[in-house]
C-alpha cells in the first residue's frame, strides 16, 4: 500500500531526527556516566540551560540565531565546567575524610543542583513557555513524502555534524586520547603523566556544551519551560546503558535505534507505551548482552 509505505518512511525519518537529538544529549552523559562513572542528575538541566541561552540570546539580545548556537554551546560548557570545579572535584580530590561514598555524594549533589537550576530559572526567567526562533523561517516543507519544518531539517544536519565532530575529537585529538586513557584507568593515566583532574574538567565542559547544544537545536520545537530537561535526561540514561557504558559509537547507535523504535512502536503497538519501549529493550539487552550493544566485557582486579 503506498499510504503505508509513506507512513513507514515518515516514521523512520522522524525516528532518525529524534534519535540525532537524543544522541547529542547522550554523548555528554556517556562521557560523564560511562567514563567517569559519575551519576549526574543535573544533565537534563544543562540541556534546559542551552535551550534558554539560545532563545534569550536571539529574542532578548537580538543576536543572530546562528550566533545563538555557539552561545548556548559556550554557556553549557561553562556550567559543566563550573559543576566539575565546584561540586565534582571532592569526588576525586582527596576528600575521603568526608565519610561520603563517591556515588552517594554525586547523586545527592547533582540532584540538588538539578532542583536549584530548575527553580532558579523558574524564578528568574519565569514559568512561561518560550519557543526559540528557527534557524530558518520555513514553517513547513515537503521532502518527498516527508514533511518537516526548515528548522528541523537544518537542526538535524547540525546535530549529525556535531556527533561526527565529537566522535572524531574523542578518537584523534590529544584531549580525546587523554579522556579515553582516564576512562580506562584513572590511576594508570595519572602515572603516565596525564592530568586526570584536568581531563575530568574537559569531560564535564564538553558534556555540558553538547547537552546545551541539543537543547538549543530543539528550542524552536519543544516550547521550553524550566523543567524541560527531566524527560531527555531519563532517555539519555537508557541510551548510555543500552549502547554500552562509555561507548560513544554505542550511544550514537542506541540513540538512533531508540528514536526509530519509539516512532514505529507508537504507531504499530501503542502510543501510550511509547516511553516504555526503550526500557523494554534495555531490559532485553541487559539480559542477553549485559555489557550493552557496543560495550566490552572486562575484568578488574
Amino acid at each position: 500500500m503506498p499510504g503505508q509505505r509513506v507512513l513507514n518512511i515518515d516514521l523512520f525519518v522522524n525516528g532518525l531526527i529524534m534519535g540525532s537529538f537524543y544522541a547529542l544529549m547522550a554523548i555528554g552523559l556517556t562521557l560523564i556516566f560511562g567514563l567517569l562513572r559519575i551519576v549526574n542528575f543535573a544533565h537534563g538541566e544543562f540541556y534546559m540551560i542551552g535551550a534558554y541561552a539560545y532563545t534569550l540570546a536571539a529574542l532578548k539580545l537580538g543576536l543572530s540565531v546562528w550566533l545563538g548556537l555557539p552561545v548556548a554551546f559556550a554557556v553549557g560548557g561553562i556550567v559543566g565546567w563550573l559543576t566539575e570545579r565546584t561540586l565534582m572535584r571532592p569526588l576525586y580530590a582527596g576528600y575521603a575524610s568526608w565519610g561520603l561514598m563517591k556515588d552517594e555524594y554525586a547523586v545527592v549533589v547533582t540532584f540538588a543542583l538539578s532542583l536549584l537550576l530548575i527553580n532558579l530559572v523558574d524564578k528568574v526567567i519565569g514559568p512561561y513557555a518560550v519557543r526559540g526562533p528557527g534557524l530558518v523561517d520555513i514553517p513547513r516543507i515537503a521532502l518527498g513524502p516527508v514533511m518537516l519544518t526548515g528548522h528541523k531539517l537544518i537542526a538535524t544536519i547540525v546535530a549529525f555534524a556535531m556527533i561526527i565532530a565529537t566522535a572524531l575529537f574523542i578518537r584523534y585529538s590529544l584531549w580525546g586520547r587523554q579522556i579515553r586513557a582516564v576512562a580506562q584507568n584513572r590511576l594508570g593515566a595519572s602515572l603516565a603523566g596525564i592530568d586526570a583532574t584536568k581531563t575530568s574538567s574537559i569531560i564535564f565542559t564538553l558534556s555540558g556544551a553538547l547537552a546545551a547544544l541539543s537543547g538549543a537545536l530543539l528550542a524552536p520545537i519543544i516550547n521550553t519551560t524550566p523543567d524541560v530537561g527531566s524527560f531527555p535526561a531519563i532517555k539519555s540514561y537508557v541510551i548510555v546503558v543500552l549502547g554500552g557504558m562509555g561507548s560513544i559509537p554505542g550511544s550514537i547507535v542506541a540513540s538512533l535505534l531508540l528514536g526509530v523504535l519509539e516512532s514505529f512502536g507508537a504507531v504499530y503497538i501503542s502510543y501510550d507505551y511509547r516511553d516504555a519501549f526503550g526500557l523494554a529493550i534495555l531490559i532485553l539487552v541487559l539480559l542477553l548482552r549485559p555489557q550493552g550493544l557496543f560495550g566490552e566485557k572486562g575484568r578488574e582486579v
Binding site: 514559568p127 518560550v130 519543544i222 516550547n223
Partner: protein, 404 residues
C-alpha cells in the same frame, strides 16, 4: 480653615481610625493551594494568585469581612496530587484557615478535597474541570469553573453544526485530559454516524509526531485538543508541520481554552490560524461591572490581558467572602450552609448553586462560555471571530477553513 475642610479632615480621620480598627483585628485566614514550582503549571498558579490577590486587596480596602481583614496563606502543591493533599493538611491544621481555594489542576483537586472533606473545611474549586470533583458529592466542596460534561456538550453541539463525522482527540494523560476526552465521547454518542477516538499524550513528551503521522494518510474531519500548555503548543505546531490541521479537510478545535494564555502567541504562530476555540472569556462578552474592575487591576499589575483564570480565581475568593458575610461567622458548617443557599454575583455573572447529585453537585450553574475562531497570527482575543457566546447563538457560517 473652612467648615468643609474641617469636616473632610474629620471624615478622613474617622476612616483612618475605622481602617486601623479593621487591621488591628485578627485576620481571617483563607488557604490558597496553587502550583508555584514545577512540574505543575506554574503559569496557571501565577494567574490564580493574581486573581485572588486583586480580590483580597479590594475586600480589605473596603473594610474587610465582619470587621476583619482577610489574609491569604499560600501553599505550593507543585501540581502533584500528594503535595496537594499535604498542602490542604498544612493549611487546615497548621495555619487554621477557614476555607481553601485556588485548586487549578483536577488531579490535585481530587486529592485535596479528600483532606478538606475529612476536616469539613469549605473548599472552593477554582479551575478543576473534571466531573469527578463534583460527583464525589462532598458537602463542603463547591466548584466555580465549568465542568467537563458541560464542555463536552458545547463541543459536541458545535461539531454537529460543522457536520464533522470522523473526530480524533488528543488528550493529555491527566485526570482532566482523560476525563474530558471521555466526556466528549459520551456527548458525541448522541450524534448518529459519528466516529470518535482519543489518543492520550504524555504531558512531559516533546515529540508527538508519531501520534500525528497516521492522520496524514487518513485525515479526520476534526482534531480536538484536550491539552494544556506547554505540550498543547507542541502538538499544535506539529499538527501544522505535518499539514494535518487546520487544513481544508480538517478542523482544529481547542477545547481547553489555551488561546488566552499569556504565552500563547510566543509559542504558536501559523499553527493557530483558523483554529476554533472553546473558551470561557472573550472581551466582547457581556460581564458585570465588577469584572471590569478586576480586569483593570490585573492589567495594571501584570501588563497582560486578563483571562478566564483571573475571573475564576476572583470569583472563588469572592464566593468565600460572601459566604462569611452571609453566615456572619467563619464556622465551617455555617459557611457551607450559606454557600449552598447563596445566589452569588461575581465577575462572570450571577450564579445559583446546584444541589443536584452528580456532575453538577455544588456547581455554580450556567457559567458563560464562548466559541471563537482565530483568523490571524498574533491576533488579540477581542479581534477573533466570535461564533457563540452569552446572547450570541452558535453560527458556524462565519467560520472559514484554510485553502489547503
Amino acid at each position: 480653615m473652612g467648615t468643609t475642610a474641617k469636616s473632610r479632615i474629620l471624615v478622613a480621620c474617622g476612616a483612618a481610625l475605622a481602617m486601623s480598627a479593621v487591621f488591628a483585628a485578627e485576620p481571617i485566614k483563607i488557604g490558597i493551594s496553587i502550583t508555584q514550582s514545577p512540574p505543575g503549571s506554574v503559569v496557571q498558579g501565577t494567574q490564580v494568585k493574581d486573581g485572588v490577590e486583586i480580590v483580597k486587596d479590594m475586600v480589605n480596602k473596603a473594610g474587610g469581612v465582619l470587621g476583619r481583614p482577610i489574609e491569604l496563606v499560600y501553599e505550593d502543591d507543585q501540581g502533584i496530587p500528594e503535595k496537594g493533599r499535604a498542602a490542604a493538611e498544612k493549611l487546615i491544621t497548621r495555619d487554621k484557615v477557614v476555607a481553601i481555594t485556588g485548586g487549578h489542576q483536577s488531579s490535585v483537586c481530587l486529592a485535596a478535597i479528600e483532606v478538606a472533606a475529612r476536616y469539613n473545611t469549605p473548599y472552593v474549586n477554582t479551575n478543576c474541570w473534571a466531573d469527578a470533583v463534583r460527583a464525589k458529592g462532598y458537602a463542603n466542596v463547591f466548584s466555580a469553573p465549568i465542568y467537563s460534561s458541560r464542555v463536552a456538550e458545547s463541543v459536541a453541539e458545535t461539531l454537529g453544526k460543522l457536520g464533522a463525522k470522523r473526530i480524533v482527540a488528543f488528550a493529555e494523560n491527566t485526570d482532566y485530559g482523560i476525563g474530558q476526552a471521555k466526556a466528549i465521547g459520551e456527548a458525541l454518542k448522541k450524534m448518529p454516524g459519528v466516529t470518535y477516538r482519543y489518543e492520550t499524550l504524555d504531558r512531559a513528551g516533546k515529540d508527538f509526531t508519531p501520534a500525528i503521522l497516521p492522520l496524514r494518510a487518513d485525515p479526520p474531519d476534526a482534531v480536538l485538543m484536550v491539552m494544556l500548555p506547554p505540550p498543547a503548543y507542541t502538538v499544535m505546531n506539529q499538527l501544522y508541520e505535518q499539514g494535518v490541521a487546520p487544513s481544508a479537510k480538517t478542523w482544529l478545535y481547542d477545547t481547553s481554552g489555551v488561546a488566552d494564555y499569556p504565552d500563547f502567541w510566543q509559542n504558536v504562530k501559523e499553527a493557530a490560524v483558523d483554529m476554533l476555540n472553546f473558551a470561557l472569556y472573550h472581551p466582547g462578552m457581556k460581564q458585570p461591572p465588577l469584572a471590569s474592575e478586576v480586569a483593570q487591576a490585573y492589567k495594571q499589575r501584570t501588563k497582560n490581558e486578563p483571562n478566564r483564570l483571573i475571573f475564576q480565581a476572583a470569583d472563588s475568593l469572592l464566593f468565600i467572602v460572601d459566604a462569611i458575610k452571609q453566615a456572619k461567622s467563619t464556622d465551617p458548617a455555617a459557611m457551607v450552609k450559606a454557600m449552598e443557599s447563596m445566589k452569588f454575583t461575581g465577575t462572570r455573572g450571577t450564579f445559583t448553586i446546584s444541589s443536584k447529585p452528580g456532575n453538577t453537585f455544588h456547581q455554580m450553574m450556567d457559567v458563560p462560555t464562548v466559541t471563537y475562531q482565530i483568523t490571524a497570527v498574533g491576533q488579540p482575543i477581542g479581534q477573533t471571530t466570535l461564533i457563540e457566546g452569552p446572547g450570541v447563538p452558535l453560527d458556524v457560517k462565519q467560520l472559514k477553513k484554510p485553502a489547503k
